[in-house]
Symmetry: C2
Subunit: 236 residues, 2 copies
């Protein structure tokens, strides 16, 4: 199918969203811009937009095939994808299998500790408040989502973890943690936004080498190479 | 019954816990010491220990009569109470009906906003980490409690809220929020620690005057008088 691109709907830190002639469809365009630490660190990762577009679409197609409804419609070109236009639920979901990042600081855990069970966290997507951590009761009290929607989001998040974890293991990648966003489309909750080295922590199973945005956050070098390596392992 | 007091088991910020000749029973002794803001503010509230002992025992008896198992055994004298010796679950539960305190800062809410539904929060009771906010998945992954225990704790916490809220309304007090601790006693979850003006926010229904530790935290004056007023309204 072809879509006629209309005006820019929203420009975020990593993507631009364009309206199309179809009111149910928007086009996501992935940029090379990188930010970290609540937007205080900024930079560019060459061809990141291309990697993230391809990787994310690959995962969304896989998840869709496993029964998780997603916003994915069709890849347009190497940086752009047509997705269902959703009303984003202003809650970010983080799923963690292995301790890393902010969890270690908050709970005094060593990076790399395997959690006894996956941890799911909710953050209120609100820049002015710096995306504070919340729980399901805050979501209901603030009416960010209904109880049924929260149940669905939790179910899809754990399922996504299971599917991606097994899949990545096959290509020698440990899925440490990742962030998801969900939206409402025609009354139903669907997985939206992106799943990429920007929004996940990927470690090589054997060397524990980081293949994700932590290379940019922590100035570890070989940032572009790490993104490309993920693309290669996925056979893309 | 009478208990022979043995050694001091633990001295906390607000209470001392003594062992007794009965291995299942400890004596809690309430002090007048007051601390706030993670222990950085310190002071004394005259006769606070007496008020808290009486108020807390009054609430525990009420809750026990409504079917919530508690550690309460018997009041010994004005500052001391015999309680079941429990293994404290290292998770503090906060239940909120009206926005106040840290919730307002975190979520950008105005103090006094009535929440659409009560909010329940979990904090990891860990001084070195400054009691970080956690959720049920952290509790399970860190094995701080089992799934069955979490379910029981949540059930008793909301029930406590309902019972105390209705009861306090009768004496013209709004229950804004409060903190609970639970323990394990012979394999079962029981409500432990204290419920007092130290651990609750109480506002006069009409004037919204604060009748709790916020008078100490925020240097509002008439601290002792506020604690005594709670005692008086409860007919103690
Ligand atoms: N299917 C969709 N429909 C509408 N908006 C979406 C969809 N998927 C993602 N979004 C939103 O588009 C924006 C993506 O741009 P991004 O650069 O990641 O933004 P941000 O800086 O907010 O992270 C985000 O606000 C995201 O919530
Ligand atoms: N029934 C009980 N058995 C054993 N310990 C208890 C019981 N009830 C409360 N405690 C614990 O006793 C201590 C009470 O003293 P407190 O001064 O409030 O301590 P803190 O400074 O840790 O808040 C707390 O650590 C509390 O968890
Ligand atoms: Mg984003
Ligand atoms: Mg205490």
């Amino acid at each position: 199918m072809s879509y006629q691109i209309k005006g820019l709907l929203y420009e975020g830190k990593a993507k631009k969203i364009y309206e199309t002639d179809n009111p149910d469809i928007v086009i996501m365009e992935y940029k090379d811009d990188a930010t970290a630490f609540d937007g205080t660190k900024r930079g560019t990762i060459r061809e990141k937009g291309i990697v993230n577009n391809k990787v994310s679409n690959h995962f969304f197609k896989l998840l869709e095939s496993k029964g998780i409804p997603t916003h994915f419609v069709e890849e347009i070109d190497e940086r752009r994808t047509a997705v269902k236009k959703v009303e984003i639920v202003p809650v970010e979901i983080i799923v963690r299998n292995i301790a890393a990042g902010s969890l270690c600081n908050r709970l005094g855990l060593e990076e790399g500790i395997v959690l006894k069970r996956p941890i799911l966290e909710f953050c209120y997507k609100n820049d002015a408040l710096h995306d504070p951590q919340i729980n399901q009761y805050h979501i209901l009290a603030l009416e960010l989502a209904t109880e049924e929607e929260v149940d669905r989001i939790v179910e899809y998040s754990f399922k996504t973890n299971q599917v991606l974890r097994e899949y990545l293991k096959e290509v020698n990648i440990d899925l440490i943690d990742f962030k998801l966003e969900f939206g409402r489309y025609k009354g139903n909750i669907v997985l939206a936004d992106e799943i990429s080295p920007d929004t996940c922590r990927f470690w090589d199973v054997n060397t524990k080498e980081k293949l994700d945005k932590d290379r940019f956050r922590r100035d570890l070098g070989n940032v572009e190479e790490a993104y490309k390596e993920v693309l290669k392992r996925l056979g893309l």
